[in-house]
C-alpha cells in the first residue's frame, strides 16, 4: 500500500513535520517495495486553505494512510471522506514513523487534532 508521511526533509532520515496542511514536504512510500518519492507541499505557504489543498495533493497520489503530527478539521474531513486512514502524534524520523506503522504500534485517529490555522505560525492568520 502507499502511505504518506509529512516530512521536513527529502529522505527517510528527515524529521516528521508535525503539521499536516503546512508540512514542508510529503514522503510517499510504497510499503511493499519500500520505494519512495518526495513531493513539495505547494500549499505550505498559502494564505488560507492549506489543509484542503494539501489533502487534495495527497489524495491525488492515491495513498491509503497518512502519518503526521497534527491535522486540522478541514484536511481531516477531506482525507476521511476519501477513506484515507489518519495517524497523528507521529514524531521522530520518517524511517521511524514507517517502522512504527509497519510494526502496528500506531493508532488511527477519528477526529482532527488541531484547530484551523494552528500550523500557520506567527499567530493565528486572518487577512480574509
Amino acid at each position: 500500500m502507499k502511505i504518506c508521511i509529512s516530512s521536513i526533509g527529502q529522505d527517510l532520515a528527515a524529521a516528521v513535520d508535525p503539521r499536516f496542511g503546512r508540512a514542508q514536504r510529503y514522503i510517499i512510500m510504497d510499503t511493499e517495495t519500500k520505494a519512495f518519492e518526495c513531493i513539495d507541499n505547494a500549499a505550505a505557504m498559502s494564505g488560507g486553505g492549506a489543509g484542503t489543498k494539501a489533502a487534495q495533493l495527497v489524495i491525488n497520489k492515491a495513498v491509503q494512510a497518512v502519518l503526521t503530527g497534527n491535522i486540522g478539521p478541514n484536511a481531516f474531513t477531506v482525507l476521511n471522506t476519501a477513506g484515507i486512514t489518519i495517524y497523528t502524534g507521529v514524531s521522530g524520523t520518517v524511517q521511524e514513523a514507517v517502522d512504527m506503522f509497519l510494526g502496528g504500534t500506531l493508532q488511527p485517529v477519528a477526529t482532527p487534532t488541531a484547530e484551523a490555522h494552528a500550523g500557520m505560525g506567527g499567530g493565528k492568520g486572518s487577512g480574509i
Binding site: 498559502s46 492549506a50 489543509g51 484542503t52 487534495q56 476519501a82 486572518s126
Partner: protein
C-alpha cells in the same frame, strides 16, 4: 465626507474617538464597521428599526452532472473545493464568492446558493443616523458585511466609520475610498509599533491621515517624536484621566464626561475638512 477611524493596535480608543467626534457634530451618519465585535452602540444607544441579512453566494454541486474533472478545485484560490473521485467537498467558510468555479465547470454542474454571514442593523441615535454590521459568531468573512455597509453610506452627510483593528482585509475595506483616516494610538512602544504598520497601510491606500494620541500621559514620547520626524500631523491628545475611564465603564462617551473636549472635536473636524479640501 467619509472619515474612517482606525488604529493598528486594538483597544487604543477608535470607538472612543469615533463616538465623541460623532456626538460633537451635526448631520452625522455613523457606521460601526468593526463587525466582529461592534460596540459603538453601547455609547450611542441607537433605536434599531431595520435588520438586513448579508449573504454570500457559495457553490453547490449537482453530483449527477459532475464528471470529477477537478477544474473547480484547481481554480479556487482559497482551496474551498476538493474533488474526490465521486464527490466534491465544499468548504463554504473558505469561499470568497468569486463565482469562478461555476464559470469554469465544463458540465455546468455548479450553481450558487446564498450563505448568510451576518446582518446589518440600521436606526437612529438621537438625531444621528446609525448603522452597524454584525458578523455571525464563528464566521471568518467580515469583509462582505463591511462592503455592504459601505454601499449604504450617504456622503452628503459627515460619515464616520469605526474601523476594526489591525491592518488586514476588513481594515482595508473600511478605510479605502474614505476621504480621511484618523489613526488612534496610545503613547507606548506597542502603540507606536502598530501605528507604524497602520501608517504604512493607509499610505498605500492614498488616504490622507493624521494621528490622535489617546491616554496621553502614560508611556513615553516616542509616538510624538515619530510623527514629527515622519511629518505626520498630530491631530489631538486625549488625556489619561480616571474620569474618562469611569465614564467609559458606564457607557458614556468622552465628550459626555468632559464637555470641554467637544470643542476640540469640532476643531478636529474643521482641520480634517481643510485637509480634505486641500487634497481634493
Amino acid at each position: 465626507m467619509i472619515i474612517a477611524v482606525a488604529s493598528g493596535k486594538g483597544g487604543t480608543g477608535k470607538t472612543t474617538v469615533a463616538v465623541s467626534l460623532a456626538l460633537s457634530l451635526d448631520g452625522v451618519q455613523f457606521a460601526d464597521c468593526d463587525v466582529e465585535e461592534p460596540n459603538a452602540a453601547i455609547f450611542l444607544r441607537p433605536v434599531i428599526d431595520e435588520k438586513i441579512p448579508v449573504t454570500m453566494l457559495v457553490p453547490e454541486v449537482d453530483e449527477t452532472k459532475c464528471s470529477g474533472c477537478g477544474k473547480c478545485a484547481e481554480l479556487c484560490a482559497f482551496n474551498a473545493l476538493v474533488v474526490l473521485e465521486k464527490k466534491v467537498l465544499i468548504f463554504p467558510h473558505m469561499c470568497h464568492a468569486c463565482g469562478g468555479c461555476m464559470r469554469i465547470c465544463p458540465e455546468q454542474a455548479i450553481t450558487e446558493k446564498p450563505r448568510e454571514v451576518g446582518i446589518i442593523e440600521k436606526g437612529m441615535a438621537g438625531g444621528m443616523s446609525f448603522m452597524q454590521g454584525i458578523l455571525n459568531v464563528g464566521d471568518p468573512m467580515a469583509t462582505p458585511i463591511i462592503n455592504r455597509l459601505r454601499k449604504q453610506l450617504d456622503p452628503s452627510k459627515i460619515v464616520i466609520l469605526d474601523s476594526p483593528p489591525g491592518t488586514s482585509c476588513p481594515v482595508i475595506e473600511t478605510v479605502r475610498e474614505s476621504d480621511y483616516c484618523i489613526l488612534v494610538t496610545e503613547p507606548t512602544p506597542f502603540g507606536l509599533h502598530d501605528l507604524q504598520l497602520a501608517i504604512a497601510t493607509v499610505r498605500e491606500l492614498h488616504v490622507p491621515f493624521g494621528v490622535i494620541i489617546n491616554c496621553a500621559g502614560i508611556g513615553d514620547d516616542a509616538v510624538e517624536t515619530y510623527c514629527r520626524e515622519e511629518n505626520v500631523p498630530l491631530l489631538m491628545k486625549i488625556p489619561w484621566d480616571r474620569r474618562i475611564a469611569e465614564g467609559y465603564s458606564r457607557g458614556e462617551a468622552v465628550v459626555t464626561v468632559q464637555s470641554d473636549l467637544e470643542q476640540q472635536f469640532k476643531n478636529l473636524y474643521a482641520t480634517i475638512k481643510t485637509t480634505v479640501n486641500a487634497t481634493a
